[in-house]
Symmetry: C2
Subunit: 340 residues, 2 copies
């Protein structure tokens, strides 16, 4: 079957323009519209299922559901903004507009109503956590056959379209990196357990320690809420035990940097810092002093892939859950050279 | 509550004129506009055009236009994400959904088509820059009387709804802070001049130097593009002249931090850094080492106010342009204590 690119070439327009025409998402000059339609007809190009549904003049909007936390400056949280950037980029290439919707925690989203009212033709759910009602709402969405994709959260036993990263492996890599350098008393500052992400990180930590012939010391396990503030709070506990704690692995960069700040506030000099490994590999990791080693998560690509799954459900059905690889980026904060 | 007819009678105009004035539908003779506003105020008639349009069951979507730069991870740019957070928060309070749309640089947005197709009922334009075609498109939007608001960009001579911050004063404060501490050779790393923001910063720098009895040394004026990369590039030039340059004022934090990195890469020790002042007061400023002094811009509040203007055009018409105050946050990077 002809590809969108071939149609674009024959019509002498960009692929995005082809999509905009075939999805009926204007504005498009009549002349351009005609050329694209002729080209796709000549090549027998059949746009993806979702694209066709858009062509049947639906809303042309891709819904993105975000958890709403007042004053939380949500878009500023690195991983949301990166995923949104990837989603936005891909959506635009397909001539779709993004309808951003906020979900009040505890309040269940009426997803199906959004489809019935034709506000959206497909949706991506970000920041979901394990919750009975939330799951029920998503299951209904599934039963009614609306195209949707869950990002960064896994619902065990369901076959929803999901895009996530391998947090078990990412955490295992972080721990092995530390144990390989001889660190023994590693504090793990995790996030809330209601996120499958936090559970996976815990699993990776256990696995990493086990492979190094060690066990998780419960007294070295701390829980924050992924905010920098909670890292600063954890620093109070870590500072007290600096004589024994020689490394800190935090479930995201913000908490790791919060711990660094907390220690600095308590007069601990950089040279006396424990080794640090963060998670997300956000801009902040590179800018931290010492530069923060961190587990890189391809958030932008995850966003692009979520949109692709919705544009090509047939292929997506063959592997509903996409798990992207994570990678450890080693910087000064955990390199032996820095310790010496 | 008073009716539109009563307002029309008191103002001695037709009801249609009342609507055109209160809905911000130009052009209207100033005299007429004044009479209608006075009458509606006297009678306590404060309609919300947007609320009414939603009542007439339109899309229920508030459009947000963002410049599209492939792979630029747009939402990750602090000031866009903060403004979006403010917009999203206020939109949600008013039961509106956000329709995020991307504008390809160079390609002119067909705003009015979005309204005609009822995809949006009002829109907020972010990241606009001075460009003839762009201005023409916005002027048409204005002529057709669609509610819209421009953020962080000023179009001289127009009476669009605009929400911006006082960048002249913010830059003046930064410069005075440096000159007051005896810094004399201050490098100013500005952004592209096509943004009114950059022009306003330049004006503030001139003013600050003037008040200190100094003049802008053209050889100390550098231009970046607001990216960290461009700051790292500027560091090459600054490093060469470190013997004379004693302070750096950058038009945003990313560039300031880029310069710090560039200097560090060249082996310049923190103790030998020139004084630094950034702009935006992003999370990065607080996390930088040394902590970066910066001009705080209330992006989140700017977003909230933009939505409020659209919800209450009657009040907004009385002062179409809202300019929020900026504030200098002094941290280690520019404090004398740190230099000593």
């Amino acid at each position: 079957m002809a590809s969108r690119r071939e149609v674009a070439e024959l019509a002498g327009v960009s692929e995005a323009t082809v999509s905009r025409v075939l999805n009926g998402v204007g504005p498009i000059r009549e002349e351009t519209r005609r050329r694209v339609l002729e080209a796709s007809e000549r090549l027998g190009y059949v746009p993806s299922a979702l694209a066709r549904s858009f062509a049947r003049s639906k809303s042309g909007n891709l819904g993105v559901v975000l958890p709403y936390v007042p004053k939380a400056h949500l878009f500023s949280a690195y991983f949301f903004s990166e995923m949104l950037s990837g989603i936005g980029s891909k959506a635009r290439d397909n001539g779709l507009d993004l309808l951003v919707m906020f979900q009040t925690p505890g309040e269940v989203m009426n997803y199906t109503d959004l489809f019935r009212r034709q506000k959206i033709d497909a949706c991506i759910i970000l920041g979901a956590r394990y919750d009975h009602d939330e799951l029920a709402a998503i299951q209904q969405l599934d039963r009614e056959g609306h195209p949707f994709c869950v990002m960064n959260q896994h619902f065990t036993g369901e076959s929803f379209f999901e895009v996530d990263a391998d947090h078990v492996e990412g955490s295992r890599l972080a721990i092995r990196h530390l144990t390989d350098q001889g660190y023994r008393n590693i504090t793990f500052l995790n996030g809330p357990y209601s996120y499958s992400n936090s559970q996976e990180r815990m699993e990776g930590v256990r696995l990493g320690l086990q492979q190094a012939g060690m066990e998780l010391d419960p007294s070295l396990l701390l829980e924050g809420n992924y905010s920098r503030r909670s890292g600063i709070e954890a620093a109070a506990i870590i500072a007290e035990r600096l004589h024994e704690i020689d490394a800190v692995f935090a479930a995201n960069d913000r908490m790791a940097i919060g711990v660094m700040h907390g220690l600095r506030e308590r007069g601990v000099r950089i040279e006396d810092f424990p080794a640090f490994v963060g998670y997300d590999d956000s801009d902040a990791a590179e800018m931290a002093v010492p530069a923060l080693s961190s587990v890189r998560v391809p958030f932008f690509e995850m966003g692009e892939i979520a949109v692709s799954k919705l544009m090509h459900p047939a292929e997506a059905l063959q592997s509903p859950r996409t798990l992207l690889p994570t990678e450890l980026i080693v910087r000064a904060s955990s390199s032996s050279r820095f310790r010496a």
